[in-house]
Amino acid sequence: MKVVIGVVGNDVHVVANRLIDISLEERGFEVFNLGVNTYLEEFMDAVIETDADVLLISSLNGEAEGWCRDLRILKSQYDFKNVTFMIGGNLGVGEMDPQLLVPKFEAYGFDLVFHQIDLNVGLDRLEAFLEARA
């Protein structure tokens, strides 16, 4: 399975990104890491280019919403039916109610949304999701 990962927007928080890279490799995924400061269009290009099964976006600095709003539009322009869209990290500015954040990002077109959830919990959920889908 191929996974494109990276940190969206003007966000330089690289630590979780490195750990996600390692953890995915260990779980047997093939990882394409775009690193920090990646824009949504770059993610889409990479998914198409690598024919990835999963797009895993991180956002830590609170600006996720501004950068991900347009996902639905971008998704509609290509055939991403078999791609799982996933986002996690710290998805709001200040202290947020996860109950409100999750539906918002689902509406943007994410299949799996994790606000302040440990990466291993998230990756377990991803594997379960992929299994159920298969």
């Binding site: 330089v12 630590v15 750990l19 400061n37 500015v93």
Partner: protein
Amino acid sequence: MSLLQRERDIIVRNEYVDRFDFDEIEEFIRGASKDLFISRTFKTADKMLVQPRGGFPTYEKVFALYKDFKEAGVDVLPLTIDSNTRLNDYATAKKMLALSEENDVDMLNGYPLITHGYRTTRKMITHFNTPVSLRHGTPDARLLIETALASGIFEIEGGPITYLLPYSKNFPMDKAFLYWKYVERVCAKYSKLNEPINRESFGPLSATLQPPAIVIVIQILEMLLSLEEGVKSFSVSFSQSGSMIQDIVTSNVIKKLSRKYADRFGHTDAMIHLVYHQWMGAFPYNKEYSDSLITTSTVIAAMVGADKIITKTRNEAFGIPTKEANAMAVACVQYTLGMLGGIPKVEDKEEEENLTNEVDEILEAVFNEEADTLWRQVFNAIKKGYIEIPFSPHIINANEVITIRDPQSNIRILKKGKLPISDKSFAFERSKIKLAQGERVVDKIIQDIGIML
């Protein structure tokens, strides 16, 4: 007209900037209240100065924040800049400020200083008549610093390495050096008018398993690059490592070596201060634990003998702190410093000797680089991987050094990459590391990053 002044005239001519009146600004700085200069407060205060972080989009919210900070007994006020301004995207900053003002929601994660301008901002700074420290993270901070100084902000954080390697993915490093040279020169120029402008380096770097040797090397190099341009008051800094003794050792060595190298380069008249950052890594999601962490940092800062401490808040794991949480942290840190008595002077000769050797060894390699200027030597050293920081997002960073914690939580170098440290120094590092039978380095790293969780 000097070359510098010509560059300055160009820099400040910008559609988002009101006319810069350099004469008036010089006049203002010449006559500015001594209380605005942290370089002077360092001399007169007989306590560790306490400074939080913080900034909001609107003037009113920053004013309210400062008011709370003052009530909490703050010594130094912060002005944290929003990320659009940091990236010199003044158009977006302007738009977002307007939205923030209209809708009473924060659409920026800091204060858009360029957009507000120095005339407005100066009103606030002089009103509170307290030193303000500029916190940004901008590689090209020329206009920002002109505006800050004109506003009465007389401490400027950052530097060509420390605001680049942890904060940027691909901003060109040579440009960063040149833009910061400009900043140093302007600071040096204004330093002659009244008390000196203070420059501060950002020692926490990526705040993730940073080995003290690298931190100190970078602190000393940014200090030398600054003093070289005529700056007379400089603060080196580092952040809590997770090991009390490692912080003490780092402090003892950085104090000794920053003075030594400043003197060796002929800057015997420069004042050097030490700043301690409370834990800069991942905070626990439990606010009471965060309070405990903040107090523990404060006690360590006292043992370290810092001149200034920069505080965190109980909201750190969640997001930008409320002004209340921020002020509370200031009050608690002041309380703790006030009641702490009988701080012992601690040292660890063996550790200090090893750390001193490592720093000397790396600096020697830098100074041996073939290049006409110090900044080019540093530039080459970073390109060659003589200096690199773990967990930098920047493409120029070598990413070969691996660090983990020893059983006392000290950060140790497991893989030295291209760091030009001697076999003896490296053997010392390695000798402290104890990996449990079958323990994988990755797991150890994850655990070592998360020690405060």
